[in-house]
Point group: C2
Chain length 346, copies 2
DNA sequence: AGCGTCAGGGCAATCGTTTTCCTTCTGTTT
DNA sequence: AAACAGAAGGAAAACGATTGCCCTGACGCT
């Protein structure tokens, strides 16, 4: 719009090659390469001339040519084994964060929980000579390795591999559950119940047993046996009914997910049991739309998914650079206190 | 596990080259290439021999080498201008769907609403010689083109470009709003109100004016002036109070988002105005967690984001193949009826 | 003056695939 | 039997960037 033809990146019609840059600067392609990459012994003036020529032509090195000769693509693949969803996004963002800083790009593949697609994508990624692969997916339990003795390093994020030699980064769910219980104890609650997802779901059982243990460690009994169900608001509402129909005298509920907690909160309030005064509530996931939409706003455990993505990416970079890590790393979560466990509710 | 060393993709330690395949098959690299790509005139037996050799070595063609010579990378970039979120995911899935079938991979870049990052990613993508770029982002209003006369085609998805020569694929929000109103009219409602997001938000005003127009076309008046606020449950609850405090006699509310509708639903029920008997409710977005979590389940407008992503990808592929499209394409949405507008509620 | 040294920069190989010519050989036709 | 057509496959260039090696001057030293 300003009238000249040199706005940022505006006038590139086709990619310029380094030979064209070299010609414009009056040097050979090899010299131009050295000038732009800061190698070789060149007069400062030559270097500058080449840089100016590159600027003028909007030169960006052809990544294919570069990786062909370098044997590295500065690219990693990310395979989400189940569909890209609420959990994958923060992981992706975290990973992108760690990788983007190092000029590494991410190929995202959605395997949709289909092993065929997964193998297909794996081949594709290997064909594209990615430098490494991050495997992620909703966590039910450890998954079999995506392949054996692959030519590139692999890091599992959020989900973990059954092979202990593989590198996995996962949330410390037991730790999260403990934090929830400890928080409830700290605000003076003593009759704590736990409502969570399906019993066959790994996360549900891990969180449940850690919660029960934390209660025992405090010298208490759970106010009710663990209620396993689904990861839904509907189940939360249903569970509220169950808890209230018993003589359990519950004064706090730790829920296996924010959705469950939200359903519970609604049902409790409707039954005239105010939250948090009568019953305090802690959720799990710290899912913004749930914790904010819930009334009162929901105290929850944040698994730091971005941190997991970032850590996985960092470990992958280290592995690419020849320093592979092994085993499972469990990252601690945080408890985010909100009104549902407020001591002096507004 | 089966004892031999040939499980799927299990034993690749380093990528085999086509020369190795050729050597194993006893032919030249050129011939091997022809055999694997189905060109040239080769004896069927030779072709088979090469294919077997490739299989045996787990050969996957080096994409860098291939694109270097082909001048195409079979890769497209996807830049989300605001953070990857609820809207970007279905778009991404739709795009991946259309592209994956054609063996094209997607580079995902999250520009986080930062123009600097955006330009940086653009450069990166161009350096990687992507064949095309899809630009997406939360929709407020048309955005300036990401660059001018770029060396590769660009398609805007969900968001649109201010340059009419650019190709944009967007939801037809006015159409969606009309469908909502027509549905409410069809179930016999006559006093319809509209509650939506901020007035400065393009989507809010487009939906609002289309809704008002649809009401007028039916020879009716809106039951209340449009209530502009935020895209939140809290605003929905607040708006319910406003509507009930007037003498408006509302019998249906069309909401600009599912979140608003859910807040409204809660507040209405608490005030003893059952949904849908007293007041019917239609949301917008068809966001699973909202429409299912809402009680009663929420009728909503689905913008078919996956379809938008898929269409954008198809148009991009066409443009890459030399057949560029121009202008704005608005895709119709669908109304998904649920209990909140049921004629005979359960 | 002659030799050595080093800065500066050009040359050419290299990465792995594809593709365009060629060459060779077989079989057919006149 | 000679000539030709076609099939089958090999040789080599090309894609674009990088890099090790070599060449050419200029300068300094004896």
């Amino acid at each position: 719009m300003s009238g000249n033809g040199e706005e940022t990146l505006g006038t590139i019609d086709r990619a310029a090659t380094i030979s064209e840059v070299a010609a414009l600067a009056g040097v050979s392609p090899g010299t131009a390469s050295k000038a732009l990459n800061g190698r070789g012994a060149l007069r400062p003036e030559t270097r500058r001339r080449v840089q100016e020529a590159a600027e003028q032509l909007g030169f960006v090195a052809n990544a294919a040519a570069r990786s062909l000769q370098a044997g590295r693509t500065y690219t990693v693949g990310m395979i989400t084994t189940d569909s890209i969803g609420r959990f994958s996004i923060p992981l992706l963002i975290g990973a992108e964060d760690a990788l983007g800083a190092g000029q590494v790009s991410v190929f995202l593949c959605d395997a949709r929980d289909d092993p065929i697609r997964e193998q297909y994508y794996l081949r594709t990624l290997l064909g594209r000579q990615v430098d490494g692969i991050i495997v992620t997916g909703r966590r039910t339990q450890a998954r079999p390795p995506i392949g054996r003795s692959l030519p590139v390093p692999v890091v599992y994020a959020f989900i973990s591999s059954t092979d202990p030699a593989d590198c996995s980064v996962v949330p410390d769910e037991a730790d999260g559950a403990r934090r929830a219980i400890e928080h409830l104890l700290a605000i003076g609650r003593r009759r704590i119940a736990h409502v969570t997802g399906p019993e066959h779901h790994h996360s549900a059982t891990v969180r449940a047993s850690a919660a029960m243990q934390a209660i025992s460690s405090a010298g208490l009994e759970p106010a009710a046996p663990v209620l396993f169900g689904e990861w839904s608001e509907a189940w939360g509402r249903q569970a509220a009914g169950i808890l209230l129909s018993t003589e359990a005298e519950v004064d706090a509920v730790f829920c296996g997910s924010d959705q469950i907690a939200r359903g519970l909160a609604e049902a409790l309030q409707e039954s005239g049991r105010p939250v948090p005064n009568d019953i305090a509530l802690v959720g799990f996931d710290n899912w913004d739309v749930m914790v904010d939409g819930c009334r009162p706003a929901l105290t929850s455990i944040d698994m730091d998914l971005e941190g997991i993505g970032r850590t996985a990416a960092e470990l992958l970079l280290a592995a690419i650079n020849g320093d592979p890590a092994h085993g499972r790393r469990a990252l601690p979560g945080r408890l985010i206190p909100r009104a549902s466990t407020a001591v002096h509710p507004a």
